[in-house]
């Protein structure tokens, strides 16, 4: 036990000292002839599945011993059965990993009784951000961030899959800007975008990928206009403008403009939590108690994949311009995202009940 610990510590020191993957790959971890199962707790073809499969094939090439990585889809119930199965059955020997999405993490965070897994104990490998912007239909009379105060007099309709998810943070944010927002649940993704084009909803959010793919043309033709971004973290952890939308003010800037003071207290904490979760939009985890040498081998493989010039074009398309949190960074960000104490939970629950008569 003690020796293991020492070896692991030494490996950790060495790998951090040299900072590259080559060393970790020479460790004793070897997956030759092994079959690694990646659980995707969503159906085949969905966004999380695509994310998982992006890594599945490449991990096989980059992990020591070139194992076969197969994807197993366990769909349904917001990813919880899949995550529960992973918790119950995955061996901490590197032969099982899971691809996660933010909504499943939030189910855990908000203590859904069906979430029978301990997310805090899992070992995050990589967190992939999907930073967001908010857009409004130009029917509202707004033509950009400068019209934010005019929007306060407009009935805004916002659509998303359900309140369980990042929506709760977004709605709280809208409230902070004194916007009058009616949520319409059960509409998300493509249908939400079409509803926006029809003007049936007039307030939407988009990840930078979705923006480029779906909304950019609508912005060009003057149907919708972006009003703010939720911002991004710079290397030192400061909140800055989203590099994809450098001309757009962040939520913080608009908040200050409207309220005359900086965002603070519980609302600030919840905003930063929101930002951490958009930073973990999609992610990969190893089971709890996975030994460090195996964890490090995975981290090294993932770094290789991200840095591999052979994938440069594919990666650029897949990851966009945001920094991927890998290894220790992933751990640190995850800890911040999951730090929802009783006070914050109480604040959020009370607000949701009062504002929308919904239970957390």
């Amino acid at each position: 036990m003690k020796q293991n610990f020492l070896a692991a510590a030494a490996a950790a020191v060495l790998s951090s000292a040299f900072g590259t993957s080559s060393l970790a790959q020479e460790s004793t971890v070897d997956f030759s002839g092994k079959r690694i199962e990646m659980i995707v707790p969503f159906k085949a073809g969905g966004a999380t599945d695509v994310y998982g499969r992006f890594f599945a094939g490449k991990l096989g090439e980059h992990l020591p011993g070139n194992p076969t990585v197969v994807v197993s889809n366990i769909p349904g119930a917001g990813g919880m059965p899949g995550a529960n199965q992973f918790e119950a059955r995955a061996e901490p020997d590197g032969t099982a990993l899971i691809a996660m999405t933010v909504s499943t993490q939030l189910n855990w965070l908000f203590e859904d009784p069906a979430a029978q897994f301990d997310l805090k104990e899992w070992r995050p490998l990589i967190l992939t951000p999907q930073r967001e912007v908010a857009l409004v239909h130009t029917d509202t009379g707004a033509s950009g961030p400068e019209d934010i105060e005019a929007l306060q007099d407009v009935e805004l309709r916002y659509a998303d899959h359900s309140v369980r998810g990042l929506s709760i943070f977004r709605l709280l944010g809208f409230d902070g800007l004194d916007l009058d927002v009616t949520p319409v649940w059960g509409v998300s993704g493509g249908p939400a975008r079409i509803a926006m084009e029809r003007g049936e909803i007039n307030l939407a959010f988009a990840s930078s990928a979705a923006y480029r793919k779906d909304y950019a043309s609508m912005v060009d033709s003057g149907i919708v206009t972006p009003i703010f971004s939720y911002g991004d973290f710079d290397a030192d952890g400061n909140i800055v403008r989203d590099p994809t939308f450098p001309e757009l003010p962040t939520y913080l800037e608009l908040y200050e403009q409207i309220n005359g003071s900086d965002l603070s207290g519980s609302e600030r904490a919840l905003y930063e939590m929101h930002l951490q979760f958009t930073g973990a939009s999609k992610s990969l985890f190893l089971p709890a108690d996975t030994p460090d040498d195996i964890y490090d081998a995975y981290v090294a493989a993932i770094r290789d994949i991200i840095d591999d010039p052979a994938y440069a074009e594919e990666n650029a398309k897949f990851f966009g311009e945001h920094d991927q949190a890998v290894g220790d960074k992933a751990r640190a960000n995850m800890d911040q995202a999951l730090a929802l104490g009783d006070d914050l939970r109480g604040y959020l629950g009370d607000w949701l009940k009062k504002k929308y008569d919904l239970d957390l």
């Binding site: 085949a44 769909p75 649940w185 059960g186 493509g190 398309k317």
Partner: protein, 655 residues
Amino acid sequence: MDVWVTALDALTTLFSPGHLSYLLLGVLVGLGVGILPGLGGLAGLSLLLPFVYGMEPSQALAMMVGLLAITTTSDTFPSVLMGIPGTSGSQATVMDGFPMAKRGEAARALSAAFGASLFGGVFGAVILSIAILFARPLILMMGFGEQLMLVLFALTMVGILTGSHPLKGLAACGVGLVLGTIGFATSTGELRMALGQTYLYDGFPLLIIAIGLFAIPEIFEILGRKQTISSSSQQKLGHGTVAGLRDVLRHKWLVLRCSGIGALIGMLPGLGGVVIDWIAYGHVVQSARDKSRFGKGDVRGVLAPESANNAKEGGSLVPTLLFGVPGSATMAVLLGGLVLVGIEPGAGMVQRNLDLTFTIIWSLAIANIVGTLVCLSLVRPISKLTTIPYGYIGPVVIVIVFSAAFQATRDWLDLIALFGVGVLGVYMKRFGWSRPALLIGFFLSKGLEDSVYQATQIYGFSFLQRPIVILLILVIIASVTITFVRARNAPEPDTGQGPATRSVRVREMGFLLVFAALCIWAFFDALQRTYLAQIFPLGASIVTGAILAVIAYRFARGSGADSIHYDEVRTRDGRRTVHVYIGWLIGFLIAVYLLGLVLAAGLFVLAMIVFELRPLTWQGVVVAIMVSALLLLLSHVLNLKFPPSLLQPLVPFLP
């Protein structure tokens, strides 16, 4: 002009050996999953996805579209030959196709279906190629109010599918609506009737309801009648292929209309693929002058759903390609496949990737043609299946259906739910409750509740003033009126049952109480929810409960000659009671739990063959071993999952 050059380029590329072989591979896989009951395009695409990653985009597209195009054709085989829908989108074909097969006209029914499928499929591809240039405004006009009206329109089809009695049909539809409310309420995120099971969070999987209601009762019937499916002799069976194709020509306008219906409804948001075959079936029954033969083997009842069924693929590709919004669950997987090969579907894809768009269109057309030819060539040999002794068919199909059901969510409860729904279906069939009505109610329940909520949330009630909404309301009124008037003029159906005895009344009342209990449960569960989450289940359970009460009154007090009474057992002699087979299913599930599916399947097949066809022959042993071996192979080659068992941890090679 450029468009045509691109179109021709795409066609020439497609005919290069590399592309053509992938297309054919897709067609081959699609043929297989279509024929196996319970597996459809969705399952097939999911199986292909792992291999798609990193493929050249146009080849991957050819393969995936090839697969999709053929499943809606090949799924006709089990629908017609066994009365078991091959995919969840092909139930309507069963209504008239299976009676034809029982009459010995399997080949005619199949070739008529394939002819209609071919026309529908190519028609869908043509519509697709036109629509991607012009359909954008049409889809944008279909807002939440319009989608609500589409759902209501689909619901009116229940009127012609009421089975032995209109009231019982309506009640069955109501039960479907109530069942559909199980799970998350969209409007508030509250859970309804989930019993603390994550399995029920998203409600019952449609696949389970569809194959449970239709497959299990038919298998029991095949077993119970102790005959081959077809009543006619071997020699006659292969004949009729030409007659079937002639049927297509004779009813060309019907096939054209239904292709149009399929393509249009596939294209519009709001309904999804599953009810299109029922809408087409409803259309042919509504518009036919002589409808006495429907349900007893009218070839028009085969032509209508099959043409619509294939045309919808082209239709539902329209929003998929134009907006990146899947037109159906299958298209959602196809979209995932597109992303995997590096294509970003969404606004502008048609302009950006016009070549790939044409690859899809051509693949759809060619796969339909090739697929139909392959299916036609298989009519003769596969029709012979209907002459195989029931003792082989029954157990093998049970194994296939349960293995397919497990792919719904890969939960043990899939198997339990299939068993439960299957038993429900068996008794619904026996007491003359319409299973299609329940299925349609179930499928439309969520769409109905959600679109009412969304439309009123966005518009209040002003959506009723939108022109297309008004138009659709008129269509709905017309549809209901036609059904109503025709039903009044139709002669009282003769169930051939004679006056109901006291024991019949007791038994049918007992079964009705199952439905009543469900309504009462739904009612009390809804009382605990907030307003938005309770209004729909309250309404559905109260109305359904009221209809059930009327039926119950007529069961108890009405005349014995009332056509509301029905008990199939009385008009079918020599049947062994279904309880025996329910017992077999329970035994099978226990064996799966102990030994795992692979071993349990072989043992179950062997035991049942011996039980039904004693003595034990070498053929029986071969069939049993083949079933086990095939399952083992599937699990290893395709990473197909099977239910966990007690034995599994001890025996490493078992999946």
